[in-house]
């Protein structure tokens, strides 16, 4: 790195940091979050991916927790099954990924889905980008289910379910298998 860069930079350090911890910054984020979630909700209601349905009434009441119904795609191991997903958005969405889990009576039996509904999918943690959306997360989950060749739980399911945090985002997942 060229040395002039560092010299030029250091004076800029203090001001933005202080500035950003103010209420103004928090409010800016809140406006971005609300506007974007409203847009996403609208487009998911109007133009959902096949087999996806959002509980729009619930989402309109509380924009930070959505319930999404998902059907297993035809001609896959999950054809005919119905699932429920829960999306929780932190105040830092879309900079932070949403917390996505399967909920309800039917948790898909899949090598990347734990019996408590936690999903091992890299875009939900380290590969998240603010260019992704609820819609693209749904599509990834559908494709993850569709490419499944054998219905079974992750090999460490029992141990994980006993010891994990309630929030799957606190799990440091180890994504070493993209083939399932």
């Amino acid at each position: 790195m060229p040395t002039y860069l560092t010299i030029y930079l250091l004076p800029t350090l203090a001001e933005p940091l202080f500035h950003c911890s103010t209420k103004l910054y928090v409010n800016q984020l809140r406006v971005l979050l609300t506007k974007r979630l409203q847009k996403e909700l609208l487009s998911l209601i109007k133009d959902p991916p096949p087999g996806v349905l959002v509980d729009s009434e619930k989402a309109e009441q509380n924009l930070s927790i959505w319930t999404i119904y998902m059907k297993g795609a035809d001609e896959t191991l999950f054809a005919g099954e119905e699932f429920q997903l829960q999306f929780k958005f932190s105040p830092k969405y879309p900079f932070d990924s949403p917390e996505v889990t399967f909920i309800g009576p039917n948790i898909p039996v899949h090598p990347h889905v734990y019996s408590n509904g936690h999903i091992c999918l890299s875009i939900l943690t380290e590969d998240w980008s603010p260019a992704l959306s609820v819609q693209s997360v749904c599509l990834s989950i559908i494709s993850m289910l569709s490419s499944c060749k054998e219905k079974k739980r992750p090999s460490d399911n029992a141990f994980y379910v006993k010891t994990c945090s309630k929030n799957p985002k606190k799990t440091k997942w180890w994504y070493h298998d993209d083939t399932v």
Binding site: T12, L13, A14, D127, K170, K172
Partner: protein, 144 residues
Amino acid sequence: MGNCLKGSSAEDISLLRGSENGAETSDRLGPLPPPYREALPIFYPSPNVSRPVSQLTEEEQVKIAKRMGLIQHLPTGSYDGCKKNRECVICMMEFLIGDNVRYLPCMHIYHVKCVDDWLMRSFTCPSCMEPVDAALLTCYDSNN
């Protein structure tokens, strides 16, 4: 196969999570066994680091300053109605003529306000995931 799990990452404490924190810390089941042990908190040299500057280590301060400086080096401009980039994918709003935008080396553009926040967390383009610093450094090299 299936064993996608390595450990449990620690709480990322920030002022924005505030009230949520209290409830969430209590759902832990005591110390986690070795394969799920706590990782060090992920350091986001981000604008919403809640600690005052005086509590940041020197290394962190330098890291943040460097990142801010690199971001400042990325060109900005006002949106001229270019048809290739119509929408800022971070806020999902269409660009309006005159909006303050930042150009990344991959030629993706975003509102300055939207993308600067992201670049403090991850120095990659949200759309193509192209690392921004690699491209920047190549620029410097070819200029020198």
